[in-house]
């Protein structure tokens, strides 16, 4: 069940995100070997796969923290322009890179909040300094976002004051403050103590219900099954199989995926 593409993103209805045949090598190690994916408005796509299968690299290629060696990416219909420099793929315009990154919210496994700023300062940093929106407006919106993720009372605390779950919720608020078109989550709960996982997943589930387009790399099988409308299983840098959760989890998937989820049940 290798994922196939028929629709052309430039002619069909505009996808929120469209990735075509991405390849990436680190030295001689081929980490991504031709990945294609499309996300429509409101899609919640869970990306599963064992360690080293290239899930993080895939997300990082989408928001250009890594530059794919080959392949095309469209964000909300906008094609990311690449040029070859000394035989290496490079973004044609660093302005476009910044603009695309501003449209993609990224949530990291290790939160990566700015330690010298309070939570509120973390959240308004992007809107004020990257989007250049009026500060008062950004503060009001940031406070509403912090309310939504349930840490409004911590807005004047520094990241070091907060538990991991609170830090991750602050990081989600920081990404949302940019009003992203798509949210990318890279194992958002993997660094958390088990009792803190639930509070972060609840926030993500609420986002999904609001219609946010999301790509979620996760090992949380319940989230993948109950919240996402599509599951992608990556194996050795390729999409091994993909489908709606009911089919994927009922056994109509590949042997490798059945073995993969078997390891989680066992």
């Amino acid at each position: 069940m290798v994922h196939e593409h028929s629709s052309d993103p430039s002619t069909a209805t505009v996808n929120r995100l469209s990735v075509r045949n991405i390849r990436k090598k680190f030295g001689s190690l081929e980490v991504l070997r031709g990945i294609s994916l499309e996300a429509d408005d409101g899609d919640v796509i869970s990306i599963l796969g064992s360690s080293g299968s290239g899930k993080s690299t895939f997300l990082r290629c989408i928001n250009l923290l890594e530059i794919a060696d080959e392949g095309e990416i469209w964000v909300d219909g906008e094609h990311i322009n690449m040029v070859k420099k000394h035989g290496k793929n490079m973004p044609a315009s660093s302005k476009q890179v910044d603009h695309i990154r501003a449209e993609l919210g990224m949530v990291f496994q290790s939160f990566n909040l700015w330690s010298h700023m309070t939570i509120l300062q973390n959240v308004i940093e992007g809107p004020v300094h990257v989007l250049k929106r009026p500060r008062a407006e950004c503060i009001a919106e940031a406070e509403a976002l912090l309310e939504k993720v349930g840490i409004a009372e911590k807005r004047h605390a520094y990241p070091a004051h907060l538990s991991g779950g609170q830090q991750q919720r602050a990081a989600i608020a920081r990404a949302l403050a940019m009003r992203p078109k798509v949210m990318l989550f890279d194992e958002p709960t993997s660094a958390l103590d088990p009792e803190l996982v639930g509070e972060v997943l609840r926030v993500m589930r609420a986002l999904a219900e609001e219609g946010m387009t999301m790509l979620v790399v996760t090992h949380e099988m319940n989230f993948a099954r109950d919240v996402s409308n599509r599951v992608v299983f990556m194996r050795e840098g390729q999409i091994d199989c993909t489908g709606a959760p009911p089919e994927m989890f009922s056994g109509e998937s590949s042997p490798a995926f059945r073995q993969f989820i078997g390891n989680f049940r066992g």
Binding site: V97, A102, G105, H129, V130
Partner: protein, 233 residues
């Protein structure tokens, strides 16, 4: 103890404090700016820039400040293009030479201190900033600079205190700052102990005030770290 003499000496030496402070502020501020330029070159990908910066840092940290100062004071005039340039009226002034060599020297030390601060900036926090679309000068101004400065501050305080003391060398190129005036008093009165003790007290008081100011700055910039520590059991 001859209080009248000490009082008189103090009065004379205090009159030279503005000169010491002038040397200090001018050289620390211009040296600090130069250090930013050097550290920018030092971490640049371009090997010409980074090697130039490495060489600069090596030369100015590796040779005695006094010799650097003599070279600037006695040496610059040997170059025709300097001697006949419009800058010569300034560069021939002992005060300007002293500030110039103090600034060149502290720039070498400060550049290394700032580089240490830069290395302490977590790559993850930089990546988080890039992921929301920050880059270039905005990224440096909002994220990298503030974090690096906080890490560099303790070592930089030490460098600043060293600079207060280094201004004393300017007396050897005939700038009449506190140490120079002290030596002149000694040659007139032959009372080495009292005069130098008075001078030492003045330097101690200056450094005490400067260290207090730096400690206050450090305190105000480290709320986030105190918070982390106070959470420990």
């Amino acid at each position: 103890m001859d209080f009248a003499f000490i009082f008189q000496t103090m009065k004379t030496l205090l009159a030279a404090v503005p000169m010491t402070l002038g040397l200090f502020f001018l050289s620390v501020s211009s040296g600090g700016l130069l250090a930013l330029l050097i550290v920018w070159m030092r971490v640049a990908k371009n090997p010409i820039l980074s090697n130039f910066a490495k060489g600069y840092i090596f030369v100015f940290r590796g040779s005695p400040l006094l010799i650097q100062m003599f070279l600037v004071f006695y040496g610059l005039g040997q170059f025709g293009f300097i001697r006949y340039s419009f800058l010569w009226p300034f560069l021939r002034e002992p005060f300007v030479c002293a500030v110039l060599s103090l600034a060149l020297c502290t720039a070498g030390y400060s550049a290394e201190i700032f580089r240490g601060g830069l290395r302490a900036v977590p790559a993850r926090e930089i990546e988080a900033a890039r992921s929301i679309g920050m880059s270039g000068f905005l990224l440096v101004r909002r994220i990298i600079g503030p974090i690096a400065f906080r890490h560099a501050l303790p070592a930089y305080s030490t460098e600043i205190v060293m600079m207060v003391k280094s201004t004393a060398l300017a007396s050897l190129v005939t700038v009449w700052e506190v140490t120079g005036v002290a030596q002149r008093l000694i040659s007139q009165t032959y009372r080495t102990m009292e005069v130098f003790l008075c001078a030492a007290v003045i330097y101690l008081v200056l450094n005490f005030l400067i260290l207090q100011a730096m400690a206050l700055l450090e305190y105000r910039l480290s709320h986030h770290r105190r918070a982390a520590v106070s959470r420990l059991p």
